[in-house]
Symmetry: C2
């Protein structure tokens, strides 16, 4: 099992959130670390998706994981147990989001000098995390089938700031009223450049395509 | 179809959120209006549950509905179309929660002098809404089976402030790893008084018991 520690983050009142994000991205670039920010509602399968991605990617990258939550360390323990990668639990002290400074505290806590791919699992929330630049190189949103296809209408900012939207739990499509074409239309109305991929982190469906996407983005970043 | 209007709420910086909540509750008591605050993640079925409750309760009460969202009016339109009750869409202007003053603005906008039961559907979010007293007489949280049974560990405050937790989409139990006994244990660890009821707003399972609970609470409130 990978190591698991928990740290409590402190919010810093920053004058320029975007500037701090750009600064962190520049630092990461210098260290050749690719940081992926994963956002979603509670229960859409962030942790299961991360485990599924890591299993497929750990032969090619040295991976670290930061699990942000209000409380508990169940996610960090689960990731470490299942994948063996270095994982840290970040407690936000009640905060509903992460910013670049909090992410920097997390990276220091992770203390993984050799990691070249780090996943940040943000607090489960479709509102607040979208308002803050974490300094990540890529923003991913997971929307799961049981949540319904109208979510991009109700939480527009989240779908605007995302590079990639993973539609998870696609194996449960027949049990729910979820319209894939509609969700694509709603997302692209707000964000024409968003890439949308259907996956099931549980059955593995669509995961190889998701990995291809990450590999391509990391390749571009390293150029 | 019931009437649908949309209003944009303005946040008021209040010195004492709890005091404003108590003041609103006292005003509601004088007007014999029972206000229910419904909270959950995005996509756990708040609107479907409200429709299912209203269908069963509208013969006994004059009902009004306030649908809070960052954007869109799909929920207010859906409730009005399906139930015929007076419904208003509240736009929070990007805010992730409602407080008592925003709720008061919503009630003024609903403009329903004869309503004696009003449901407030809060913004879909398990973090921020729990931090603010809306002035409601009853706090309800909906947790749906696809979200997983570990949610009370990760979002403890939400489950602490709730009088009632409805476990929705119970008809999908066999497709997901959801442990009902565990979720009861996790919720009662934080909030021993919470009432937990399994429902399926879609199939109607458990809805009569939920209605009985509301009837009982409203009877106690009116004493």
């Amino acid at each position: 099992m990978g190591e698991v520690r928990t740290i409590l983050l402190h919010e810093n009142v920053l004058d320029d959130i975007k500037k701090e994000g750009d600064k962190l991205r520049a630092d990461l670039k210098r260290q050749s670390i690719y940081l992926v920010n994963v956002m979603s509602s509670p229960g859409s399968g962030k942790t299961t998706t991360l485990i599924s991605l890591i299993e497929r990617m750990k032969k090619d990258y040295t991976i670290g994981v930061m699990e942000a939550d209000i409380d508990s360390d169940v996610d960090a323990v689960r990731v470490a147990e299942r994948t063996g990668v270095k994982s840290i639990q970040l407690h936000t002290g009640g905060m509903c989001h992460l910013d670049a400074d909090m992410t920097r505290q997390g990276l220091a806590g992770l203390d993984s000098n050799d990691a070249n791919l780090i996943f940040l699992e943000n607090v489960g929330n479709l509102v607040c995390p979208a308002e803050f630049d974490t300094g990540a190189c890529l923003n991913v949103c997971i929307l799961s089938v049981p949540e319904g296809s109208d979510k991009p209408l109700k939480y527009p900012l989240m779908f605007e700031v995302c590079d990639l939207v993973l539609i998870n739990k696609i194996d449960t499509l027949e049990y729910f009223d979820f319209n894939f074409r509609k969700v694509e239309e709603f997302i692209h109305r707000r964000n024409p450049d968003a890439i949308i991929l259907p996956i099931s982190a549980k059955t593995g469906e669509g995961m190889d395509k998701a990995v291809d996407y990450f590999n391509q983005k990391i390749k571009e970043w390293r150029k």
